[in-house]
Symmetry: none
Subunit: 122 residues, 2 copies
Amino acid sequence: MGADRFDGLAIVGIRDLLLVTVSSDFHDQLAVRLKASLSDRVRTSGSRAVVLDISAVEVIDSYITRVLNDIGSCVRFMGAGCFVVGMRPAVAMTLVEMGIHLEGIRTALSLDEAVTALEAAR
Amino acid sequence: MGADRFDGLAIVGIRDLLLVTVSSDFHDQLAVRLKASLSDRVRTSGSRAVVLDISAVEVIDSYITRVLNDIGSCVRFMGAGCFVVGMRPAVAMTLVEMGIHLEGIRTALSLDEAVTALEAAR
C-alpha cells in the first residue's frame, strides 16, 4: 500500500488495485498529471487494475474524457484493466449527448462492484 | 524446449509457450526477422501461445507496432494466442499518443500474469 496525493485527487494502492479518488474540481491540468503518474505507478506497483472513482465529479468535458480514454488505453497496453466507477447521471447524460465513448474502460456502479468483477475475472 | 538466438532477441520454447525476450535495441530489421521465424516456430513446436516480453524496450515507433500487430494476427490465424508483456509506461504513452491499437494482442503486466491468464483459459 501507498498513497500519492495531488490537490484534487489521491492514488492509493490496495493489494493489486490502484484506486484513484477524483475530487469535484477535476480539471484539465490534473487529468494530464494523473495520466503521467498513473502509468508509472502501474509499473512500479505491478497493479492488475486501476479504478477511477469519479463519484464526486459533477461536470466533465470532452478534453477530460479524452484523457480518461488515454489513461484506459495506456493502462491496458501495460496489461492492467481500467474501471471508472460512480459516474453521476448528469455526467453520463453529458457523455451521451457529446457522442463520446469510453473505449476499453469498464464501468461499474461502485468500487464494490468493480472489485467483484475483478475477482470474478481472476 | 529449444532456443533460437538473434542479436537482440531470444525465442525460447517452454512447454506450450514460445517466449520471446526482446532486448532494448529492437529495430525494424529485427522485427521483420522475428515475424518470419516466429510463425515457423509456432507451426513446428505446436505452441499454444506466443509471449513477447518487451520490458527492455524503451522506444517504439509505428513501424515496429505494425509488425507486432502483424505477428499477433499471424499467430492468431494459426490458432495460437499472442501476448505482449511488460510494456513500459513511456512506450504505452507513445502508442496512445500515436492513436495506435494493438488488435488481437493481449497484454499482461508480466510473464507470470500471462501464464496465469493462459492457464485460466485452458
